[in-house]
Subunit: 150 residues, 2 copies
Amino acid sequence: MVDYDFMLSELKRILKDKGLKFTSQRELILKTLYENDGHFSPEDIYMIIQRENPDIKIGIATIYRTLALLEEEGLADSLSIDNGGKRYELGLKKHHDHFICTECGKITEFYDDVIEKRQEEVAKEHGFKMKSHSMKIVGICKECQDKNKQ
Amino acid sequence: MVDYDFMLSELKRILKDKGLKFTSQRELILKTLYENDGHFSPEDIYMIIQRENPDIKIGIATIYRTLALLEEEGLADSLSIDNGGKRYELGLKKHHDHFICTECGKITEFYDDVIEKRQEEVAKEHGFKMKSHSMKIVGICKECQDKNKQ
DNA sequence: CTTGATGCAAAATATTTGCATGCTC
DNA sequence: GAGCATGCAAATATTTTGCATCAAG
């Protein structure tokens, strides 16, 4: 797993390159994504930050603006969920796809080489210049299936 | 391609089964999806209906409610786009995935057997009970690439 | 000290809901 | 006639934007 110091220096480098400023809010949002494993809405992140840093003042608009910036620079990835809203996770991780459980809402990750390779081939076959791809498998996770059986 | 009469009778059957009513609005929305090939927002559908049926009065809420019903029953499928909003298309078509062009916004469909099979295997391997899956390949379509070269 | 960043509130979007009335069955 | 469906408007939910002020470089 990529370490935090690397991500932080990446953030600093990118900001410098673009003539933007390194702020405590931007650092905090990156750190929050780093320290919390999961797929969060901007609102989630807002609440985590408020809970863990009662002394710091941050606005929801900053969360939205920063997440968009992080995503654009690859430091965060987003996933659109059916019931409105995007979920964000740390970027620079190995590419992966998601299982989404319709019962508990849990999102888990998986990676499959066959699918990855085939996606590239399919894009090429159609003359489509792929920039990114995402796959979601929606259904019921193992835990919920077991729970249902009881 | 599935024919309209079949879809209409399916709609009638489903409504009857659930004790719901067959209304002109529900028929019109299904017909609109059938006759217009594409991936439409609820607002798009609302406008198409108003344009093509200036005499008929329909509310946007009915569009949302009906699309949700059609989707739940498999007569429509939806796709969440990055910039907010869902897009709907006719259901009961052969399953397929989507290319989304970031330049012109066009959504095109493709089907690949290797990917389909592998998705099922991957879900099984993870003990995940798959109900549906979707894949999006985001990038630049052939037409836009050609346009850029000129 | 210049310029971008932030917080706040208002605006813009997108979607859902309550309710009186209308239409199916 | 009973009960679901509809249109409308108001309510939510989500995201974006304008702007005065703050702070990084």
